[in-house]
Symmetry: C2
């Protein structure tokens, strides 16, 4: 299940970040996370925790549930 | 932010589990997780990862975004 969730999640976060015209650095600063961590999320390498999902949602100014509104890859 | 997210999340998961008339043991078995882990989630002690959120959603037969549709405590 890992790649089928983490990869599309990463692309979804990247799109939401671009929608708000934030750089990875800016998003990282807003979340209090490292830029390399944001980069890892967007590449599908990070299994983000609930707390960090809420930090991302706040930083992206979207409802938390919107972060999970993406299509999982079929595998 | 931790308790203000994890505690209401735990209560939300507990309610969703009860809505489907599953015991903690049954939910754990469906997720491939331990019953003590489910118990920890419901008591707000676990910072659940994205992968486990998707396992929980599948086991509870709800859309993943529904798991994040709860009110964070103000603190």
């Amino acid at each position: 299940m890992n790649d089928s969730v983490l990869k599309p999640f990463g692309l979804h976060i990247k799109q939401l970040r671009k929608d708000t015209a934030l750089s990875q650095e800016e998003l990282a600063a807003r979340c209090g996370l490292d830029r390399t961590y944001i980069s890892g999320i967007e590449r599908g390498l990070r299994n983000v925790s609930l707390i960090n999902l809420f930090k991302l949602a706040k930083a992206l100014d979207v409802a938390p549930e919107k972060l999970l509104a993406f299509e999982v890859d079929n595998d």
